[in-house]
Symmetry: C2
Subunit: 330 residues, 2 copies
Amino acid sequence: MRRSSAPTMKDVAREAGVALGTVSKVFNNAPVGEEYRQRVLEAAKRLGYQVNNYARGLKTNRTYAVAVVLPNIINPFFSVLAQNLCQALTKRGYRMFLSITDFDPEAEQRYIHMAQQNQVDGIIGLTYNPNLQVADKVPFVSFDRYVSPDVPCVASDNFGGGQMAAKKLVELGCQRLLFLRIGSTVAGESDKRRDGFESFCRGAGVEHDTLYLRDSDGLDPFRDFLQAHIHQGRLDYDGIFCCTDVLALEIRNMLSALGVHAPEDVQLIGFDGTAIHMGRAPECSTIVQPIPLLAETCVDILLKEDKSDLPSLICLPVSYAPGGTTQDPV
Amino acid sequence: MRRSSAPTMKDVAREAGVALGTVSKVFNNAPVGEEYRQRVLEAAKRLGYQVNNYARGLKTNRTYAVAVVLPNIINPFFSVLAQNLCQALTKRGYRMFLSITDFDPEAEQRYIHMAQQNQVDGIIGLTYNPNLQVADKVPFVSFDRYVSPDVPCVASDNFGGGQMAAKKLVELGCQRLLFLRIGSTVAGESDKRRDGFESFCRGAGVEHDTLYLRDSDGLDPFRDFLQAHIHQGRLDYDGIFCCTDVLALEIRNMLSALGVHAPEDVQLIGFDGTAIHMGRAPECSTIVQPIPLLAETCVDILLKEDKSDLPSLICLPVSYAPGGTTQDPV
DNA sequence: GCCTTTTTGTGAAACGTATCACGTGCATTT
DNA sequence: AAATGCACGTGATACGTTTCACAAAAAGGC
């Protein structure tokens, strides 16, 4: 095994003619006389010394590693989130150790165990397991999903986003609104998009309907529903809010095939705004989640030393971005 | 610090009334009498014991962690690759520690240093730093880019893919071909797409041109070029091969705006086929990279114990997938 | 039933680091 | 000039494992 020959602090100490403790101090930025510091640094460079983080972690119980548990990173929202988390962690000197669960509750639990076993300094998780066990030994921040009273949850202001979407549609002149959703069976913060939407509609006295599907239903029910609501080439609704940009695009295509076009015949608003954080123009009008801010916040909270007075839910503000599926005033 | 109270093997040994070494054996699946094994397991459960991987790593010099260094994970190709790498690593009991370089050569080097310092068991990197220093202490596999004689490089058969694209276009009846490329200034394996394309064209005696841009040039030169080659609403070329699906889509839109439509007026083929690995239909006809296989191969090679007779370049086969921008025979 | 072989539990040593009580030398004070 | 304080280098110790040489007990052969 080649690695057995890796130089240790002891080697550096011998090479530099100093004590072991002095070498340690140099690499921990503890006060050391300038002459000694130089001697150590030079000896280290000569030997190609690198500190062994496993030994260090063993002594200090700090690993400077954080586990991020996500369903996948193929969905653009998740990949942008993962990238922002990675950057936020790097900025603070932490490494990111990524786990992909593919929405499998067992995998989620397994990864969290593994993460604890691997002695990470914390975990950021977007999980769907309704009865997830999180040992209180390792700091945990949940994204978009309530886990338990002492686990802080970071999410966008989904309720406000739902309201905003409905309000926007009404301002654009829509009179019959439709909310379309497809997603997990497990309730999460993002379900509040619907609540916000309905809340606004009720408050403003606007007619509205809702179609609420689960992933397993597939997209076909949407087509059936829309088809059933087209009479003489006209859709019964003039404003649609989709729970996701991805869904919004699907719906736009679906409607196109049925002869109904956005934004001419119907105003269409999605949710996420991921494209914006990818440096691209959004492909549909959308409620934008502040992904970089969400990531920063997750990391901030996770790494906060004093966890005494943390809110259990942190809601971050969303914004509206026109993207060609609505007829916005200039 | 709460973690200081975590139970250790010594605690388990005391609780179970056995020796320290016996506990260790149980957790390493070494032969231990059934009665003892049970005693230890129960004691461990009672105490909530988990092995400390830092102590273990210190002794064994194995961390079961692999660093993956990528430019980003926003580009769908990279995110699908990252996901497949993660899964391939997980399958083998390894964890993935992800670093994002944003194409910054310095960051690449920094991350690789960091990865070594963190005592990973290996590194898989997609790097653009032409003179990257990789210590031979840590196994390294490069994706798509030649680094040095003793660093194995895994890539798609880019040359073959270029040939395949040209051949396909010719089979579809095209007579004047065009190759469009935009990318890094640093030469990589993917530049062989052009070589393969030109090789086939020359061999078959097909007229062809090439436009070769760098990222910093932006997409405008493409528009200028295409515009200059449209006479009386007709494009001079009847078959276009783009170095990337992303570019192919851009070009299709660009051409549409100029009144030239794929596949009616021009056959368009891209490269990557990422959408297919995301479970979606490809948005353009394309040469598909075998991303899952690429990932598996990277991991296999990285984790191979005997590195003696490794090829320095591993080329994996690509395939063609029609996707609506070519008029393929049924 | 004795000796050999095999199996299996034991406890000490070592991995590479951080830390801490200690010792040395030097500057400051009176 | 002696006493005091300070700054800084020293080296032993401990962190929680794995491993290894050893001992003890069980199994097998004649």
